[in-house]
Symmetry: C2
Subunit: 460 residues, 2 copies
């Protein structure tokens, strides 16, 4: 790839300044107060795509936050890459744990610190800059389409319908996504699988109003105690999920494949040290990497009820709430699992309380075959820039829409992400190493070149 | 009691106005922001006591909120009644459930609606007005001392030391407390027992920061799941508390006594209807009244952790918190129980989390013998004004300092309260029926008269 390193060196300050402008827009999709910011962020992306060299770029409405679509069609006979990313970010709470302001990016210790620095503003932005490089240096070998959504962090609710409506517009030979991580800065890897997801809001109601815990305590069901009992009942002592039928569709991975996966470098002591935990904890019979890679899990993401302020109020509350999510693996049907949980959880309500489960969002797991041209192109591209062959890994995270793309558009995705485990996405002090940011921009043009070489040109 | 009814009729508007001034001071002891209000409220009480006829009244400092002390000594040879009450109130959250402003009292449907209307501003104020009546009409038969504290709702932390230091000042023959309820407006009762209390703050820590629930979920302990499991483990399927030794000191009540207690009128269907619950829920083998009267219980008063805001953040949190309390019965040592819980709960931490239990406050249970002069005087007084003999009941609530008085000052208390179960103390829409308020003022002077008659005058 001619001059890519020099191009990055020459433009790196501008790249960072442009990215920082994007990051400064607090596009938190989960919070209604940021509705205007979503539109500002979409508008910013539209300009970025045009400046990078798109023939056209527009903001397309959906039932929720709009999609930014841009394209450059060089030759209908050439293969087409559809770049997918998202411009929304996670909420920032708890704010007090941030060492810098989440929406005021700073570079320190070789990293960009900000909400969205990695997920997914930093990573999507690499795609835009690699595209810019190819356009400006006359090295673009494929048609390119960009699709940036504003609801990934809340389940991509509107994007499914958008894809259904715009099948023709979105026609492509592969979807290229930079929204995942590598094993380590010196251990390149490609995400060959993603877990699926279900998310539920749970409400437990006891008496119709808060009661004095002395006068009623012991005689009237406490919704917090009840909720805890129900949540505790979701796992057995070996951390298997107890919902009947939950594991029925999980594909059993062969011992051989497990042995192969076990070869990926992983230092459990360092992992524990970094998280400051005495022990890892999960489903009996599986290793840490297997627990996040090939096995489903169930976590409470939030819980609240009763007196959560200062002091010691003796109250027997009327309500308790939880946000519960599960991560699914290939072959598990998220809609089936969602119904299964809802029925099981509601039925597990102890005497004296009422339970309401509201499914929030979900998505299927995804597997990317190692034989497909896009995987091989990504593998070659990373081998070129990292000097070693990337390892295929299964990520514990979920990008539900990726399974949706396959179902609706019939297009496979390649998950070539440059994040690191230490980037703390979704958490306080999210960051993205400059090295990964620039390496991503350097690697992506190679992907295009190899993909154009390998992809069997259809008669389009 | 000469002219008590006429006196109340003549002064009732003034009584309400004075009480409302007291209620308007938001003396929430659990919230640091109300520190100044505590002092204003103490000052208000000092004036009220002087206006009611005390010889002297003063604000006495403690390590925390001050105590208001006032007295009228008519004759050292006469018996002395020490009136105890508290001027602090519970927090008001959740504010959105209040139908009126908590600190702007209104009279509607025959009730005073406000925080503190019953607990304990309304009830303590009855004592002041009954005292005023006796002084102004020359019918005061005893020496009277008033002691109002500002920390009852947070465990009376400073009052124990205050009592130790002021044993001489507080010398009395009985402590008269109006801070409890009657069975119903037409079913007078006297609280012959109170449950004790322990309260703990619990913190569970997993990883050292919030994690992405996809990338780490299933492999790293979730402190919310862990906390739920630990809380669930505190009860067995029959709602017995599982802490080893917890019930060891509980006095077994005879079948005969249980049969007697069962005669108190109680309509379980009405109770369920009023709370809008399908079923009561508690320790197997005991009735609802027994569950709150003679049996200990354990409730989570508050819980929180992870994402508790809008939307569906997929986070594996670093921390989870709970506020847990237990109600104890006679003979259980609250300090022993507090240590027992702390050890058991910390030891029950699953792999991968650390647990910290901080005892917040506690107090012993209390039993008032039906034979003592003060009980008999109260019984006669209520029979006089209600036209029927009051039933002795055991309250599920706790006034830990009452057991403390007995231990430190060697003085028994009589719990002659005029609240009703429907007063929603500690909850939104606290209220106090006017009928109970005026009936209390009417009854209290009879108590003084009978007590003076019955009490064997010591050689003081």
């Amino acid at each position: 790839m001619k001059d890519i390193k020099a191009y990055i060196e020459q433009h790196k300050d501008r790249f960072l300044n442009e990215l920082f402008e994007l990051i400064r827009i607090p596009s938190v999709s989960a919070e209604a107060e940021h509705k205007e910011d979503m539109l500002r962020c979409a508008e910013k992306w539209r300009s970025l795509l045009l400046e990078a060299g798109a023939d056209k770029a527009e903001i397309m409405p959906t039932a929720g936050n709009p999609v930014v679509y841009g394209e450059k069609i060089i030759d209908p006979a050439k293969p087409t890459v559809l770049v997918y990313g998202h411009y929304d970010v996670m909420p920032v709470a708890p704010l007090e744990l941030w060492r810098t302001q989440p929406f005021e990016p700073v570079v320190k210790d070789g990293r960009i610190w900000a909400r969205g620095a990695d997920d997914d503003k930093g990573q999507s932005f690499m795609q835009a800059k690699a595209f810019e490089f190819m356009v400006r240096t006359g090295q673009l070998p494929c048609n390119v389409k960009f699709m940036l959504e504003g609801e990934e962090e809340i389940g991509s609710g509107s994007l499914y319908a958008f894809c259904e409506t715009n099948k023709e517009l979105l026609k492509a030979d592969v979807i290229l996504v930079s929204d995942t991580s590598m094993l380590a800065a010196d251990v390149p890897s490609i995400t060959s699988g993603l877990r699926g997801l279900c998310y539920w809001d749970v409400e437990v109601t006891g008496a119709n109003h808060d009661l004095h815990s002395g006068i009623y305590g012991g005689a009237v069901a406490n919704p917090i105690n009840a909720l805890c009992r129900m949540i505790a009942g979701l796992h057995d002592a070996d951390y298997h999920i107890t919902i009947p039928g939950f594991y029925d569709d999980v594909l059993v991975i062969s011992d051989e494949e497990r042995a192969l996966m076990a070869q990926a470098p992983f230092d459990e002591e360092a992992y524990k040290r970094e998280l400051d935990i005495d022990a890892v904890c999960g489903e009996k019979g599986y290793s840490t990497k297997e627990r996040t890679g090939i096995r489903p899990c169930l976590d409470v993401c939030g819980i609240w009820g009763g007196h959560t302020g200062e002091g010691s109020k003796t109250v027997l509350p009327s309500k308790a709430y939880a946000k519960i999510s599960t991560r699914l693996v290939a072959n598990q049907d998220f809609q089936k699992i969602s119904r299964m949980f809802q029925e099981y959880f509601e039925a597990s309500a102890p005497e004296g309380v009422r339970v309401k489960v509201t499914p929030s969002h979900g998505g299927a797991a995804y597997v990317s075959p190692l034989e497909m041209a896009a995987y091989r192109a990504a593998e070659k591209a990373m081998t070129e820039t990292y000097g070693k062959r990337p390892i295929p890994t299964r990520s514990g995270g979920s990008i539900p829409i990726v399974a949706g793309f396959e179902k609706i558009l019939g297009i496979k995705s390649i998950l070539m992400g440059f994040g690191l485990g230490s980037d703390d996405i979704h958490a306080p002090n999210e960051n993205y190493p400059l090295q990964q940011f620039f390496k991503g921009i350097e690697t992506i043009p190679y992907f295009y070149a190899y993909f154009a070489e390998m992809f069997p040109v259809s008669g389009k």
